[in-house]
Symmetry: C2
Subunit: 392 residues, 2 copies
């Protein structure tokens, strides 16, 4: 089959899945079909729109309930949430933090805000997340333990944390990753920005590491406008996270006493109100997104040049962004597909540029990244909004 007909077949398969009659199919758009108006209006009517108000507490409670985490702490966005997680596990100036080369730049940025140095790890082709096997082999080679702390023999820096990011919502293979982290005395912090509603062996992503970060940006499975959260099962870490995200103010009826360098990372009440309404609809969103993925899977079944990414056997995915991967030898077709679909009003996008290739991180340490490099060249995300499945 020639290149053009491969692209045409892929486009037709996407069109088969998409509902008819729209001019534009965004990659991911939010749905506001619940109590959004009611809750927002209540914020205005009561005057509680900002840092104080019942919706922040309610949102945190609902999030903890949904994910099964002991504590959830709302934050102003996912990047800020991750920054606080890294601070809390003790990442400080000069520490290396192992993470995906294939991730949104926020992961590397959050590490750098703490003075840390991203240290890039290769991906697993199946999960798109960190590969525990190559990570372990690599650490055997470059890392050593001194006084129960891990050091990079080549750079001399401490390796303080491991940040597995659940790519496009698909759960990474957490258990063996945690094993490696334990073996090398490295703290695990999940970047679950994309994986609200995704599970690993029946447990919600973001509840495995010491502490983890979620995101509710406008393009995510649920949105708070902009927002994020920290999950942890350790109440002490949770309390510290709350303290750090709220300017480290020591409670007092009128005194302004702050006992640490804190952050203004509170989620505004108005954003939390939106989040409460969205969380109520989350199970429905996920059901629809999974139905959409099932449709895509069937539609691409007989196109051998691409693989449609499906959830791993050990987990359940929210299918945040549905993902096609050109098989080896066909990666050169990626840009043709991006051009064709976007010109037709079907919004698609490639994977992120590897963080290890961005100018500000290009000198950071990294292992060989053959899988990440292949994925970078070969991935195309396709429209994934829950509203592409009509309500009954």
């Amino acid at each position: 089959m020639n290149n053009k007909s491969i692209i045409d077949r892929i486009v037709n398969s996407i069109l088969d899945v998409l509902p008819k009659g729209k001019n534009f199919y965004p990659l991911h758009e939010p749905s506001f079909e619940g109590n959004e108006w009611k809750y927002l209006k209540e914020c205005l009517d009561t005057g509680w729109v900002s840092s104080v108000g019942k919706y922040v507490d309610e949102f945190e409670k609902k999030l903890a309930d949904f994910t099964g985490a002991k504590m959830a702490i709302a934050a102003v966005n996912g990047t800020s949430a991750l920054q606080i997680c890294l601070k809390i596990v003790g990442v400080t100036t000069g520490d290396e933090v192992l993470t995906n080369a294939l991730t949104f730049v926020a992961t590397s940025n959050a590490i750098s805000y703490c003075g840390g140095i991203p240290h890039y790890v290769d991906s697993n082709e199946k999960t798109l997340g960190l590969c525990p096997i190559s990570l372990r082999a690599y650490l055997k080679e470059i890392a050593e333990l001194r006084n129960n702390e891990c050091f990079n023999r080549k750079t001399g820096n401490r390796i303080k944390a491991l940040v597995p990011m659940h790519v496009f919502g698909h759960p990474a293979d957490i258990d063996p990753l945690l094993e490696v982290a334990n073996e090398f005395s490295i703290s695990a912090v999940e970047d679950a920005a994309e994986s609200l509603g995704s599970y690993y062996k029946g447990k919600h992503t973001g509840t495995f590491g010491k502490i983890s970060a979620l995101s509710f940006n406008g393009n995510k499975t649920i949105t708070t406008g902009g927002g994020g959260a920290i999950l942890t099962n350790d109440s002490e870490l949770g309390r510290l996270a709350k303290h750090l995200t709220t300017t480290a103010k020591v409670p007092h009826k009128w005194e302004f006493f702050h006992d640490m360098i804190g952050y203004n990372f509170r989620l505004p009440n108005i954003c939390a109100a939106l989040g409460c309404a969205q969380l109520e609809q989350l199970p429905g969103f996920i059901q629809k997104k999974r139905m959409l993925a099932e449709k895509y899977k069937n539609a691409f079944n007989d196109i051998p040049e691409v693989r449609f990414v499906t959830e791993p056997s050990f987990g359940k995915s929210n299918y945040w962004l549905n993902t096609l991967i050109f098989r080896k030898d066909f990666s050169h077709l990626r840009d043709d597909l991006l051009e064709k679909t976007n010109s037709m009003g079907i919004q698609t996008r490639p994977a992120w540029r590897l963080n290890s290739d961005l100018p500000m991180f290009q000198n950071c340490p990294k292992m060989a990244l053959p899988v990440a490099e292949y994925l970078e060249k070969s991935v195309v995300n396709i429209p994934s909004s829950s509203n592409l499945i009509p309500s009954e």
Copy 2:
């Protein structure tokens, strides 16, 4: 007069000004009497609640128009805005930044996020802001210029920036402060978090230094839920601020390429929508706040033990937080007044603890701070919401 009768007279004067019939008079609460609901509803109806949407652009344009700044860049809050300002003028690890000892902790925090070291300067009793005279005398003593950069002779650190904060909305005496900054080759960055609607010699605060920060937290003159902005008259700095606050992504129809360590400091569209509605009402808010201040001024006129802070002759204040200062010898009455008023449902608060006394900043360099120390002990902020003046 005994202490109790002094407190009683003050409380009665406050009650004379406050409208009757409420159980609780907050220190500062927002008013939503304009297009807030209309604009919020439009965000929900169109699905644009997050990082993209027309309200962010509109809010930035309206802010630039209102303040007369060439550019306004919306940000997620005032602390983040100030952090970006400091980055942009080049504050980096080990640099000292001169600022108010008497300020909200966010000023010092923002400095520290850049790796900077706050260096505390005394206040002026009249303006409550930085004192240009004692600053100049102090710098003569401790600073020296090398290759047109300012260094602290005692610590050896570079002194990179001067951050005058306009306390409680009252404009600091900017001209002589800028003169000192110029004389010592220090970049001026105004912390105008509290002074939206305040003017110095007819020009809006925040338009004097190289670049400056505003805040729209829930307790401010206008609110966006949580939010802030950067003002500058330098288009190049403005463009850089926009780039840095939006993850430093290089525009492309689908590629994710970022060329600097950027920040996720975008203001959500939903917050900007609230801000647009609030900005429309700002002139009215300020008019009422100034009327309220006038009433307080008259009410306290014959209580010699306190001074009610009025705007300086060179400027116009938004009277964000109305401020009483116990005259020397009466500061010991502050806590009695705080106790009494708060127990009656009249929310009052003291000034912030001096940042130079907070545990994380107590070893930072500082000049003698006699005025700031006096103000810290003697200031009480009293209810200041615009809605304390009834609409006609």
